[in-house]
Amino acid sequence: MRRLLDAFVVALENLSDHKLRTLLTTLGMMFGVGAVIAMLSIGAGAERQALALIERLGTRNVVVRAKTFKPEELEEIRKKSMGLSQRDAEAIVEAVPGVAFATPRIEIEPYKILAAGGKTKSQVFGVGHRHREVTRFALSEGRFFDLADETHHAQVCVIGAAVRRELFGADPALGRDVKINDGWFEVVGVLAPEPSAATAVQGVAVSSTEREIYLPLTTALRKLDRDPLRSPLSEIVIHLEPNAPARETAAVVGTLLDRLHGGAADYEIIVPEALLQHSAETQRLFSLVMGLIAGISLLVGGIGIMNIMLASVLEQTREIGVRRAVGARRADIRFQFLVTAFSLAMIGGLLGVAIGLGIARAVAAYADWPTVVTTWSVALSLGVSVLVGVGSGLYPAVRAARLDPIQALHSE
């Protein structure tokens, strides 16, 4: 222990005698480690976001979503198929095994949303009352609408956190009315705020609930006009039974819908579970590539350390001779050089961690990408850099230890 401490003191003294050289030597390590940490933080951030978005879709769900078309295409498509409809939802529940229930959703383009307190822009959806069961809605106030609201075409709505903020500010929102297009709706619930603002994963749009307003499907169909050419439903969320396989069930749904829609591909089927796997694969590939880049840059850093260590063996030959003369064993000399190499790598590594954290934070702040610096990425890159450092210090250390003390003493 004392030996280690002494060796560190000597190593740090040596390194601080050549500050510029030390800095330049550790540069490779520094950027290597910094790059790894920054990249992994971006990767981890992207993954976490992807997971959150997939989670929101619901891994126990299969989503059938109506495609949007250009007007001229739409007319062609509509000759074959009417688009997604309540009939599709019913057919799926009836015919596809493993489906617990299906809940429809329509999308409305509001041209006007206002309340006593102000106005806002928002997406408006009409959904079945069971919609709450298929997504992870968290309500911060009030309630979601129920079957009774749906059957009575109740003019109620549940609003997103951002919508609430803009319409009512700090005032209470429950019981107040919101005007959407030409209808008035009473606020019965407010959704909890969400941290993430991203809206797509693997190219599939996933909306944030912050700027959304939910109405009972029946109310929305009756009170708000929609383009008649549009698909009657925007989306059917199919909830699976506990043990039903997602992909297989989705395939059966696909076959069924293909028949019902006369072969018109006016919908897409999204399987969040498959997205999850896909995302994990992407992440694995990303990590592999990163690992490779990291490996190369750390290798370069290691070569730098070896180079400078070899130079300092030459430089310190006399000193090595003196140390040997006063009683240093070969092992002491070797140890000293290894500790110096370790210190170099550690300095580089730690500065690299600082740079990595800086980049991660800068990316999060300026590029608006979420970044997550994981402990293991720091531990891994530091660990590898130290390993590489000590590894590349090995040969110089052995050379230093092998010096003949007599020749070393007489070297110039």
């Binding site: 004392r2 030996r3 002494d6 003191v9 003294e13 005698d17 006399r318 000193e319 001779g321 003196v322 140390r323 040997r324 003369a325 006063v326 009683g327 240093a328 064993r329 070969r330 092992a331 002491d332 003390p405 007599i406 003493l409």
Partner: protein
């Protein structure tokens, strides 16, 4: 280490070097004893083999044949590590060019041998200061070698050699890089240490130095040519220049 028996005993020591096909005998059957508390000069010209002898005596090198016993213990059978230990515990080196670590202060230089004994830093520095005081450099402890005169540097080196309380002080041309006045001071210091009971061996090519030692061993061509009182041996058959009187 033990008081009984000689400190140094060399029996028919040879040391060969292989130079291509040629085998050169640097030492060719050297044998002598040095008792505890002696002050001995080993005098010879360059190429006489005295440096090789110094390396062997200092446990930096091992004889090709023959026996070297230091403090009653055979050295030639020792491993590299054991010889390092022997250097650390039994021998204090004083070199011609001081061999101080240039970036370390005097006190740190002096403490260096104690590092390899696993002594805690605080104690190392305390003992190093004592040792510096012994050679009259107590107030120079924080100076670096380049802030000191040649004499001060050599005193620092002597303090380093003394710090481990070795049984043998092995000096290689200790006044060779010093002017004559300073050289005299260093020699006076050696005499003082000798008076305190230290065993001192001085390897030199200067007869004047050898003449000031109670005993001198003259070496030439790897053999002992003379061994006796310094004043008598020092100027015997000078191989190069005619004898220069002090």
């Amino acid at each position: 280490m033990t008081a009984a028996g000689p400190l140094i005993e060399l029996i028919d020591v040879t040391r060969h070097y292989q130079m291509g096909d040629e085998r050169i005998a640097a030492l060719d059957g050297i044998g002598f004893r040095v008792e505890h508390g002696e002050m001995v000069a080993i005098v010879g010209t360059s190429g006489s083999g005295k440096s090789t002898l110094l390396n062997i005596l200092g446990c930096l090198d091992t004889p090709s044949s023959g026996q070297y016993r230091l403090g009653g213990r055979d050295v030639q059978g020792l491993s590299d590590d054991d010889r390092a230990r022997a250097r650390n515990r039994q021998i204090g080196f004083v070199f011609q060019s001081f061999h101080l670590l240039p970036r370390s202060t005097a006190v740190k230089n002096v403490a260096l041998p104690l590092v390899y004994r696993g002594i805690p830093a605080r104690e190392r520095l305390a003992r190093a200061r004592q040792s510096l005081a012994r050679v009259g450099l107590a107030e120079r402890a924080r100076h670096r070698p380049n802030q000191m005169s040649g004499g001060q540097r050599q005193r620092t080196a002597i303090a380093r050699a003394l710090v481990t309380e070795p049984s043998l002080l092995l000096c290689d041309e200790p006044t060779g890089n010093l002017d004559s006045t300073t050289g005299e001071e260093i020699m006076a210091l050696f005499h003082q240490l000798h008076a305190e009971g230290k065993t001192i061996l001085i390897v030199t090519h200067e007869p004047a130095i050898a003449a000031r030692c109670p005993r001198a061993i003259r070496i030439s061509d790897g053999r002992i040519k003379a061994d006796g009182p310094g004043a008598e041996v020092a100027y015997l058959t000078p191989p190069v220049a005619p004898a220069a009187h002090p």
